[in-house]
């Protein structure tokens, strides 16, 4: 456990100056502030539509959720998985890492957990900043009645679902970036995968949930249909794509460990 903990601390220490780490903070900050600015700038137009508080939150938070879930999250996950292993490929530091008195599982698991945690932080910030900027908008334009509805439970559920749906892609891309030290292969496969995932999810192919890259889109699509059905909170989290994502994540995590444990430093 101590070995895992110090490996995690080291991952945060050496990655804290990288784009992948800062993107986890900057992405939600930039996207949420741009959306809030849009709502501030177009306040008159939006207020004319007379949304009830819940629908207002829906319209407002849906912007961040849509952009994030469909596009940015899969690409960010791919980039994060690439970046976390590339830091060792690029600096030729695998040999140093494996020559430390730490077991290989800790080194590997710390990297994986670091990526999971960073994605969690990114999504948590998206949810938190969505709520915070909503209240800030009401403070600046009191006619926005954001405080009349509490969006926290539904946002938590949405973002939790998106988070779980991203784990399959993360594990798959993590294995790719362990195997290949170059930029093109893992990123190229990832990009093609995401486009394929979006298409298969949107055309409603019934086996789309077998493709990890389609999970975030599927997670959003199904929940948005459920939202229309009645109580917006009344949608299942553990749907087929989420279960599929968790199975992929578990299996590929094990495969990744086998790769690391057999890895020879030539």
């Amino acid at each position: 456990m101590r070995s895992l903990y110090i490996s995690m601390v080291s991952e945060f220490y050496k990655s804290r100056k990288t784009l992948a780490f800062w993107a986890a903070i900057l992405l939600p900050a930039i996207i949420c502030s741009l959306i809030a600015f849009g709502f501030y700038h177009d306040a008159e137009k939006i207020l004319k539509l007379n949304y009830p508080p819940m629908a207002l939150w829906g319209r407002y938070s849906g912007n961040a959720l849509g952009v994030m879930g469909m596009l940015i999250l899969p690409f960010y996950v791919i980039f994060m998985a690439f970046s976390i292993n590339n830091i060792e490929h690029k600096n030729d530091t695998w040999k140093t890492l494996f020559a430390q008195p730490l077991n290989r599982f800790s080194i590997y698991a710390a990297k994986y957990l670091y990526a999971v945690l960073t994605i969690f932080i990114c999504l948590f910030l998206f949810a938190a900043l969505t709520v915070a900027f909503g209240h800030l908008l009401e403070f600046l334009i009191p006619r926005y009645h954001f405080s009349a509805y509490n969006p926290v439970p539904i946002l938590c559920k949405y973002y939790a679902k998106i988070f779980l749906s991203s784990l399959g892609i993360l594990s798959l891309q993590f294995v790719f970036s362990l195997l290949w030290s170059d930029f093109l292969k893992p990123m190229g496969i990832g990009f093609v995968g995401v486009i394929m995932g979006i298409i298969t999810a949107n055309v409603g192919w019934k086996y789309a949930y077998f493709i990890p890259y389609s999970h975030p889109t599927l997670a959003l699509r199904i929940t948005s249909t459920a939202k229309k059905a009645g109580n917006p909170l009344d949608f299942p989290v553990f749907t087929s794509e989420i279960i599929s994502s968790l199975i992929y994540a578990t299996l590929l995590f094990i495969i990744g460990y086998i790769i690391v444990s057999k890895k020879s430093i030539k």
Binding site: I6, T93, A99, P101
Partner: protein, 302 residues
Amino acid sequence: MSSYAIETVDLNFKFGNQVVVKDLSLQVPKGSIYGFLGPNGAGKTTTIKILLNLLKSPTDSVFVFGKEINHNRIAILKKVGALVEQPAIYGHLTGKENLINRCILLGISKTKANEMLQLVDLTAAANKKTKEYSLGMKQRLGIALALISDPELLLLDEPTNGLDPNGIIEIRNLMVELATKYQKTILVSSHLLAEIERVATHVGIINKGSLLFQGTISALQQLNKPILEIVVNDGPGAAAFLRGNGFEVLANDESVVSVPFTSPGDSGKINTILIQQGFIVTALYQQKKDLEDLFLEITKNN
């Protein structure tokens, strides 16, 4: 308890079908500075990687401080510091941050980072990103990283690569200090004997994966047989005359005849009989090959 810090027993290693290490039986005594010599591609780095378990020894034939590496990896690595090939450092971090990161991984106090920077004379560049370091600075930082855990055994793979003459001398002095003052065992690889012979207490010479010589520096010097060189007015004539009188002649040219040096008395006798025969001997001296030539001869014959 083994008296060797490192012991390999008939170690073999292959990359696919290519044999890289063949029946290697290293014996590195505790407290020694062991010069691990061989031309480029001889198997030095591969051996060091096996000693660090970066490459897995196919059989249980590698022992460090008496413990077998495949089964005691973590316990052994706690006692080992290493610099393998070019130093592996994070280019986006500063020199100090690289050292602090290593302190985190080893669970030791971060104050060690400053001590090490001072030791390798990098204090002034402590806050500079290492991607801006020169090769020599990177090498010194690599040595600091290897030393930071205060290991009992240091494995240094060509540590003076890229260093200027002053830097080379500093590293040499550092190795001697670590071995004599702090009783560290150091295995240092090089392809240049001249670089090692001044500091090493023991030498192992490897070529094409096989160990050709192993022993103390003085044992290596004993292999180096002295030669008597005689400068005469007629080299071929003197060589023929000496052969006729039962002396072994190693080589000769127009004016120099080389024979094995046996004793000062024999040298005087050769001089006397040559003069008595009418040859003009202008010089007669004992010649010893330097160790570099000996090293080349040993590796050439493999």
